[in-house]
Symmetry: C3
């Protein structure tokens, strides 16, 4: 039993899995960064949503005016939600893809393009860049995940 246990933790020795772990950690940290940017804009723009968050600005009407939406805050939140919608499928399908035995070079290509596309997507959303900048970076990431899903279904198919 001990031998098996030792082995079962060695997934991280597999090079494709190491690449998956590296890029997944990077894109998830990038997604987590959106929380900090939201907080930054909420504080600098004084735009909050929960009454208890404005208590330090005083009581009653003087604090109530900070319960409002701000275009910059809403923009970051949309970028954050778009990350959830796209990074969740990457993390889930990417794990299955990494375990489906792809070539390291092919896997790296997928992971690198996806990660680059999502960083560009965030920049395009926050700067903002004119379209089709954001649309194209979204489509590239989407296509990479789709390509990995195809490989997973081809390899694992058991319905």
């Amino acid at each position: 039993r001990r031998g098996e246990m030792a082995k079962s933790t060695q997934l991280i020795d597999n090079e494709v899995f190491r690449a998956y772990a590296t890029y997944t950690a990077i894109v998830l940290l990038k997604m987590m960064l959106m929380s900090l940017i939201t907080a930054y804009f909420r504080i600098t723009r004084k735009a909050f949503v929960n009454p208890e968050d404005t208590a330090s600005f005083g009581k009653g009407e003087s604090a109530k005016k900070y319960l409002r939406t701000d275009p910059d805050v809403e923009r970051v939140r949309r970028g954050h939600l778009n990350d959830l919608e796209n990074i969740v499928p990457f993390v889930g399908i990417g794990l299955l893809y990494a375990l489906s035995g792809p070539e390291l070079s092919t896997a790296l290509l997928h992971f690198r393009i996806f990660t680059g596309a999502r960083i560009l997507h965030t920049l395009a959303y926050l700067i903002p860049l004119p379209q089709p900048g954001r649309g194209l970076s979204w489509a590239v990431g989407y296509s990479v995940t789709f390509s990995m899903a195809y490989k997973v279904l081809k390899t694992a198919w058991l319905l």
Copy 2:
């Protein structure tokens, strides 16, 4: 080391894991489809949220009128968020469940019912079907994930 590396990639040879990979890829692709449906309704209903997305409709007031919410767009977006709220637990708990050594037939039953329920949920949301159609399909998927979580906690419990 090479032996271990080779072995560690063979998770995909396990039949329960292959079934998990197949159904997870399918439900994640279904979730990704919501992005395309949102884009379709935004373009056909001319209802956008980012000013840079309406630039092709001209400048100033003529483009500004397309920065609006549309009931069909909002409906797809609610369906998408509901997918995130329910498919994320399925993917996470389902992976642990697949590794907890269930019978293949039991695992397939869980995966198939969940996948069917989520496809029905999307149809019920988008058509829309009268209640309790959407509510029931949601509850079925929820119960399947709960049942898998019970098996995971029974097998793995280490607090």
Copy 3:
């Protein structure tokens, strides 16, 4: 082949992985609970968003008045979205962390603090507690995930 297949399902025998499975199931079930709390408030506050959900209240104007937002419903929904934004990175990075060979005691420390922080975050959001209660519990969970990501990148780094 059968030998490998048997082995590949034994990941759940690894103690760190068992701890990961236990805490991941708990935080995902906690996140799923938010759906039930939302439904509870929607029904008791009679605040719905889909016209088909108010059909049981009658037709036309009498049902239309229940298509409205309610502060309590919106509060639970914000807590749910915050869970998605923070529990998704925990589940993804935590899996890689569990496979990166940490000490069991260190891993348990990470998992326990994260889980406790997220339960406190939910309580702070729903009661609600005065700030910085919610902010601190959010920051603690965020830091734990960051710490696990650091360990993953240090162990697996392959760019």
